[in-house]
Amino acid sequence: MGADTTENEAFLRATMGSMDLVYNVARRMVRRREDVEDLVQETYLAAFRAWRGHRRPERVEPWLATICLNLARSRFRRLSVRPEEVTLGQTVEATRTAPDDTEREALAAVEREELYRAMWDLPEEQRVAITLVDLSGLTTAEAAEVMRTPRGTVLSRLHRGRRALAVLLADPIPEVTDR
């Protein structure tokens, strides 16, 4: 028990700071929040079992992201098509702080919803590349390891995903003369 407690505490100390990263990866792989939370828990459980088996990573973030992605693909795949249960109205209500802020926050919520939809409209590999690099702060080399693909492929997926988001959501980009 004593050894387990030490191991357990060391694991939590090493990994709990990466919870937001795992949560964001999970959020881009399955839609419903309860499934997202299950995926995060299973990721930590699988990571802890590996940790107990003395498989310690050099860097915790890419390791947890890899476990999360693998679990999402192997066990949560069918859940990715289930629609998210949170409605726009709930999002607005949850973030409202004062009457004066209502309009601005409603607009922000609309933009956020559009962004979520646009992310889900991306091909999975582009969505994963953006999640790992732009949301989670991994390098493209680390993302390549997580995705088990060459770095050049990650760069291509990353850029195509970014471009698709920009084209879908943004105003026309400035003319090149505005340099």
Partner: protein, 106 residues
């Protein structure tokens, strides 16, 4: 005249823009690319789109719910008490989806 760094050849606006926007071009290559941007319409456009897309992609970042942190901690602590060589104690949280899914969950 600045010579094109070896690692930038062949010219690939998509890849070059992705590396540049991600901040992964090393100093000399980055300086070359920034100079190149002034003359290359394709690269300039890809960099503008890439920057915008990177910002938008980062805008969906969320914090994990506080309750989830507690549940994960509990799950790991329960697992830590299980016999590592034998039957593990199932996390009380991991049964939830199976119950919701009528026993058909993974």
């Amino acid at each position: 005249m600045t010579r094109t760094p070896q690692r930038m050849r062949p010219h690939d606006p998509e890849r070059n823009a992705a590396e540049y926007v991600s901040g992964e071009l090393p100093g000399r290559t980055r300086r070359w690319f920034e100079s190149h941007l002034l003359d290359c319409e394709d690269c300039w456009r890809e960099v503008l789109l890439g920057r915008l897309g990177r910002r938008l992609g980062g805008d969906v970042r969320e914090l994990a719910p506080a309750g989830l942190r507690d549940r994960v901690r509990t799950t790991v602590e329960v697992e830590a008490q299980a016999d590592p060589s034998g039957d593990r104690i199932r996390s009380p949280w991991l049964g939830r989806r199976r119950r919701h899914a009528g026993g058909n969950g993974p």
